[in-house]
């Protein structure tokens, strides 16, 4: 296994997948100018599902999950999140964004606010939670990501791994029902990857619906119940992790897997 951070032999924890649909994407297309980034995407995510999206760079995987919370606009097709249609209506967009948490490759913490302020900002201003309550909730989640003692520091004083865990806590403070991860570990030093992945695994075990763009194949094997392979803006193959890794169907997938696992 290419990834030393995760023990691949751990059996995936039993996590319930309900029949309820969390995200429904039908015939979605997106263009950057005349460049067709996403082509006919169809994807249904059930509540409690953990999906790992992988693929070569430029295959549109980040764009796909950024479309889900309207950071990018799609031009064709429909996206429904938790029963809310992602349309041009601002109220719907606001609703979806407060339901969906997102972690970025470069964390995107706000450097002028302390860790605690980072975590309480959105609950206070978007959810209108009283400050006291928001702080209590924030401390709860900071404890969960194991950095409550850093609450009054600024992001710049933390290591990359810690910052990413704060970013996860910050999203959790909004009590999201779905979490999106956009390459959360690719900007980290190797020794910090594990701590972030551990946090993510813990989250998965609690039954969070997760869509995760990552190259951590160990993580995919450990927690995902579906792996999606994208290339040239299309979903090329999706399958259970075991099948996906041991018995890939498409040539593109085989090539990709051989490239990332071959060394």
């Amino acid at each position: 296994m290419a990834d030393p951070a995760i023990d691949a032999n751990v059996t995936p924890p039993r996590m319930e997948v309900s029949e309820e649909i969390a995200v429904q994407i039908t015939d979605m297309n997106k263009w950057y100018g005349s460049f067709h980034v996403l082509r006919d995407i169809n994807l249904t995510v059930h509540r409690g599902e953990r999906i790992v999206i992988c693929g070569p760079s430029g295959s549109g995987k980040s764009t796909l999950i950024r479309c889900i919370n309207a950071l990018e606009e799609h031009q064709k097709g429909r996206i429904e999140v938790d029963g809310t249609l992602l349309s041009s209506d601002l109220k719907n967009i606001d609703k979806i964004r407060s339901e969906v948490g997102m972690c970025f490759q470069h964390f995107n913490l706000f450097p002028h606010l302390t860790i605690l302020e980072n975590c309480t900002l959105a609950p206070i201003w978007v959810r209108k939670t009283p400050k006291k309550e928001a702080e209590q909730a924030a401390m709860h989640f900071l404890e969960k990501v194991k950095i409550p003692d850093q609450a009054n520091k600024y992001p710049g004083q933390l290591s990359g791994g810690q910052q990413q865990r704060v970013a996860i806590a910050r999203s959790l403070c909004m009590k999201p029902r779905i979490m999106l991860f956009d390459e959360p570990t690719s900007a980290l030093d190797p020794e910090m990857i594990k701590e972030v992945l551990d946090t993510m695994i813990e989250l998965a075990e609690e039954g969070m619906t997760m869509l995760c763009v990552t190259h951590e194949m160990g993580f995919a094997q450990a927690v995902a119940n579906r792996v999606i392979f994208m290339d040239q803006g299309q979903i090329v193959e999706q399958n259970e992790p075991k099948e996906f890794f041991n018995n890939p169907k498409s040539d593109r997938t085989k090539l990709f897997l051989s490239q990332i696992l071959g060394h």
Partner: protein
């Protein structure tokens, strides 16, 4: 050690070599001079030329300064003293003009018994900007900073204190309206209400209210007319009020220029480019010659206010460019992070983007202020008495007819001290920001 053979056995050092002095001629003053001043033909030539230039300047300036006379009532008296002490035709500066007239250069025609007011105003101003410039001070102090403009106005111009109070009340009303409407009618309505209600208040209520309060409790300082302002007081008042008043407009323009709404963007660009494309002096003439054309007939207000309005618009365009630089310097992830949490445009601007962008922009804003402060000397051409205008006025008096250099030296030195120290401060800030960014 000579018996160590590299190819056979490993080598282990058992005694450490002590530090030894460098060879003679490689250290000390001689080496420094040789390396720094005479390290080649061109370098030597440069050194000689520089020393010559320094010598020429010093040999002319030194006797003039060394013989300077500080205590005399007029230029003729100065000359008599010079003839008596260092002899006729000897160069001698007559700084007596400064000791005689410095109050005028600093305060203009401000009533002498009220000189304390500009001084206190300066102190209030410094105290008010401290929370902005230094991070150690609690954020709550910013509320005092917000009140400072009204205090400064009341101090400098005087008159009944109810005028500024009534105006300030408008902002409080706006804030209250916003807070009341926000849960009732939503964000947009609250913002509109917070703009419209205070405007109506200022137009119809503020004047009578101030009048009524004044008649009930006539508190206030003696009124000082704008035309009595002069010298460095005038420069500082124009410069500081223009910068502070231009900040809100400048930020809006910067946001407008960043916006992808076509019309908003083009309006901002047009405003900024038109203002920046035309020299300040043309704008000043516009203020003095044309502003009355653009206002309802019969409106007439004093020249200083007109100048402040014009200079505010002028510096808003420059501030906008500085702030735009700050906005552009923020990584895109900050905008995305904010919107992924569900913050709307104004929330993310107010809470995330602007606090960071403005912090990056402070050095640029300080530099804009330095430029503006120097440019306030241009108001002399439309008849306001800035330091240079006052130097002409002083020269026009019979006592000091013919004094040039002493006044220039004094004015130049004052400007230099102010601008140089502000420049150093902004440089220090820039360096600090760079360190923090790493």
């Amino acid at each position: 050690m000579s018996d160590t053979h590299a190819q056979t056995v490993g080598y282990v050092r058992d005694t450490m070599i002590d530090e030894q002095p460098a060879p003679v001629g490689q250290t000390g003053a001689v080496k420094w001079i040789r390396e720094n001043l005479f390290s080649g033909v061109i370098n030597t030539l440069l050194t000689v030329i520089s020393l010559y230039v320094i010598w020429v300047v010093v040999s002319h300036l030194y006797p003039w300064l060394a013989n300077s006379i500080w205590d005399a009532g007029s230029l003729t008296e100065c000359r008599e003293i010079r003839d008596a002490t260092v002899g006729p035709d000897a160069p001698a500066a007559c700084f007596a003009v400064i000791t005689d007239r410095w109050q005028q250069l600093v305060f203009g025609f401000y009533p002498p018994e009220h000189y304390w007011r500009p001084v206190v105003a300066l102190l209030v101003f410094l105290a008010a900007i401290a929370p902005v410039l230094f991070q150690g001070i609690p954020r709550r102090a910013l509320w005092l900073s917000a009140a400072a403009p009204f205090v400064l106005f009341a101090l400098l111009w005087g008159g009944s204190i109810w005028g500024p109070v009534a105006v300030a009340l408008g902002f409080v009303i706006g804030f209250v309206v916003y807070r009341v409407l926000l849960p009732l009618a939503g964000n947009l309505a609250a913002v509109l209400g917070a703009i419209i209600v205070p405007l109506l208040y200022w137009l119809f209520l503020a004047g009578p209210l101030a009048g009524a309060l004044t008649s009930v409790a006539p508190i206030g300082l003696e009124y000082v007319q704008s035309k009595d302002f002069g010298g460095f007081t005038l420069s500082v008042v124009i410069g500081v009020s223009a910068i502070i008043l231009s900040l809100p407009l400048g930020i809006l323009l910067a946001l407008g220029r960043q916006s992808n709404l076509f019309i908003i963007n083009k309006i901002s660009v047009a405003f900024i480019e038109v203002i920046r494309g035309v020299p300040l002096i043309v704008w000043l003439f516009t203020a003095s010659l044309l502003l009355n054309y653009f206002l309802p007939p019969g409106t007439n207000f004093d020249l200083m206010l007109r100048v402040i309005i014009m200079v505010t618009l002028f510096s808003a365009a420059y501030i906008a460019e500085v702030v735009r630089g700050g906005l552009a310097a923020l990584p895109k992830g900050q905008y995305e992070g904010a919107s992924s949490l569900g913050l709307d445009y104004w929330q993310s601007m107010r809470l995330i983007i602007l606090p960071q962008a403005l912090k990056i922009s402070i050095p640029g804003i300080v530099n804009t202020f330095i430029g503006l402060f120097k440019d306030t000397t241009l108001v002399v051409f439309i008849g306001l008495l800035d330091p240079i205008g006052l130097s002409n006025a002083i020269r026009a008096s019979t006592d000091w007819n013919g004094v040039y250099w002493e006044l220039f030296v004094f004015i130049g030195l004052m400007f230099f001290i102010a601008c140089f120290s502000m420049g150093r401060y902004s440089l220090y800030l820039e360096k600090k920001l760079q360190r923090e960014h790493r």
